[in-house]
Amino acid sequence: MTARRLPEGGEVDRSRPLSFTFDGRPVQGFHGDTLASALLASGERVLGRSFKYRRPRGIWGAGTEEPNVYADATDGPRFHPNLRVTLEPARDGLDLRSANSSPSARADRLGFLDLFARFLPSAFYYKTFFWPNWHVYEPAIRRMAGLGRIKPSSAPLPDGDQRNHHCDTVVVGAGPVGIAAALGLSRSGESVVLVDDGSRIGGSLLFRSARIDGMPGANWLAAAEADLRQLGVTVLTRTTAFGIYDHGLIALNQRRDDGPDRLWRVRPRRIVLAAGAVERPLPFAANDLPGVMSAEAALGYLRRQAVLPGLRIVVATNNSSTDEVAAAMTAAGAEVTVVDARQGRRVARALGRRMVTGVVLEDGTRIPCDCVLVSGGFTATVHLHAQAKGRLRWDDARLSFVPEAPVAGLVTVGAAAGHFALAEALAALPETLGLPDVPVADSAPYDITPLWPRPGQPGRVWIDLQHDVTAKDVELAARENMVSVEHLKRYTTLGMATDQGKTSNLAGMALMGALTGRSIPEVGTTTYRPPFAPVPYTSLAGPRGGSRMNPVRRLACEARHREIGASLGDYGGWLRPAHYGSDDSAILAEAKLARAAVGLFDASPLGKIEVIGPDAAAFLDFIHYNTVSTLKPGQCRYGFILAESGVVYDDGVLVRLDDHRFVVSCSSAHVAGVHGLLEEWRQDRFPAARIAIHDATAETATLTVSGPKARATLAAAGIDADLSDTAFPHMTTRWHGSGEAALRLTRVSFTGDRSYEVSVRQDLAPPLWDRLAAAARAEGGGPIGIEALMILRAEKGFIVIGKDTDGMTRPMDLGVSGPMKAKKVDFLGRRSLFTDEAQRADRNQLVGLLPADGFGPLPVGAHGIDLSGTTPRSIGYITSSHPGAALDHPVALGLIERGAERHGQEITLHHLGQRRRATLCPPCFLDPKGERLHA
């Protein structure tokens, strides 16, 4: 191995050595190295394995375009998958593992795959693993494919940081042209953000010689850095502009040494794209061998980190950019042979197995070497322009797609616009940006001759290093008529993954063009989409996540529930007691306690939306299925709200507090939806100023006392209201006390037993809970959780919307058809109830079901089946099933075809391959006359 560190030169600090490990082996480097430059200097060539064939691969590039080498890094307790070694500064103590190999890049266990390469053409997976089912093969293939690993045991990465920012201009790319643009715009008074994905600004000035305004490029750069600071330009290094989104949003990901990546969402008035260009490989056989590198990248490693990539170097090129590379390598002590297509000399194939040992030219000349530096010309980095829906034009002199014209809010300059010579790029700035005064550079013109892969070229000519696509794969795609560029991409995976066509696309398009008699612009490009480079999910997510993404709502009495051992669970976004104690046998015991004596239930999440104003009654008549305006103050009525489709949207008890004030109570998970629905119709259909809507759910706690001892419990808790049935009948509401501590007592029942809802300002609820809990215990009862309540309501046949109803259920399917026939005024969903569909006789209707086969409770989700035809047919399904609390048998509710007229009939149920028998009955199992309400 002959790549090595030169004794002097470069920007590395030899007084500050560092070391890290790669696949377990120590690697030495210096401050100023990237991981890639330190790895190169260590002499290690095989640094990765290819995606599909597990071919040995080395470093190709020096920036975002690197297709081969990624590493998973363990950094103390943290684990970072897929670190980009070309962009990451070397750090002491990192433990790197090559990302696509096992156990290591040097000795990859799957390296034998390459021996079978001719059996693994494009679309091999689709064709071979189709039978019997892709999922049979998927786990093994997934283990072999892909980049990086996940290590669930490592410490979670810290939350990403996010910034929103506004400015006049964002300049993407801090090469000489980006810097000149930023300086000029800043001097003309604009606020400017200058971003670059390198660790230093300067771009090509960091490794190419230049003369700008009569001084050496490095001197000009130092002066420019000082000017940028003085002008207050925001300079973000190690920052990738990865996407342009609607309304001019540009997204930047900043990698930081002192914290997690930071996402910048910037809304500038204008974006100046100075993102430069990416060097292309050349098409010759075995052009993927370790030691075959981008010439531009190699010049960077030589001049910046003083790494000489080899001692006997072949420079294979088709353009003028390599003149300086060859000279620099020679000056650094290497023996250099130039193979220039402009002089008619071309490499036919590279020699070597695990690393390059020589090349054979098309004229048969053999040149031994330990490194091949390659330039196939430059591809303008137009991704952001294309993401912004900018069109592209093929430039036949420069052999690159370039922006056809600026798009609104985005202008492209420099090499990204196809100006590959610095003098030409700077000279274009005054016109493109309207700048009066820009630097002047001397540089040689850019000169290039086409050298594309040709049909039938012998050997394995790699087009896409990252996804292991060869010229033969493109030929196969052409034979199978995948000639559209989008088909070519999907069929061969050319240009997918992080490459996104940076190094690979043009060679693939040129070859497809040659195979189908089309020019490159006729073949066209694939669609450019964000992100330009991978962005960690932690950065995109930022601090949102977990409880901050979806905060759970908490009860005022939560501490009381915890004190007595409640098992808390998420019910419709609220943290509520499922039952008390950890053993779920408590559920049935709580239900029996409530039936025998009294249960105390925290019903605070129940929706309480106040509707206030002179038009409130007329408004609610329209909103509700039931008539509301006939209610007298102090009365309550159970009813439905329908969607315009006639389907039951929610149910609940409506309370009229006085002439102009109502409380709409709705299911706890439906509060936001009902509130939105009320607002929508208030604003769209009614005189909005005569109705006010206020959601009082969060500010009001409700404790429900239910059972034969409910009235005694209230009295024992010190609520000395007249609770007699004449003074306080069922379905009425009244105030008790006055001022802030006033209680609203509402006599409604969701259990079938005598029940009182006690509502109070939420911060006053805990002492009320204490009094009611002590009183309930004294009466032989106690607290009950929501699971016990579900048993009680099912026994009584009370439904839960969305559980016992579905997206087809109309109110008459639940046995409530009065308002449809009798209500005088129009209401939400009314017209839908009179459609042919709603009036069909064979609709699924709410029924009760009892097991008729002695096998215990019926399973929820079991389908009733009609066996009279040639194949079984579903006639509905079971929606709720519970053991009995007051009853000594289980009960179930269901939606069954023509259920209302089939009470007493037996049906067959089918569930997970089992058959059951059940008898249909009215959907009320307990106390159909309602005597327990007054017991």
């Binding site: 309304h247 939105g676 929508e680 769209d684």
Partner: protein, 85 residues
Amino acid sequence: MQIFSCPFCGPRPEPEFHFGGELGNHRPAPDCSPEAWAQYLHFRTNPRGAAEEIWLHIPCGELFKMHRDTVTMTALPGRALGDQP
């Protein structure tokens, strides 16, 4: 991320808004034909290009009208529901 302009609160980011439907999908009279009712319930023009829509600004709770272009993604400032037209 788009920027929409609530007529009451001014320009705000897209996550603060909720789509409320196409403008001009008027509720037919209670005794309308089944076809008219089906049209109201189920049919949308879903235009390519200029669209008139209702949006909800969630923080202030107000519905408003907005002109939006579904191709260029431009969105004109919202107008209050009561304003003409």
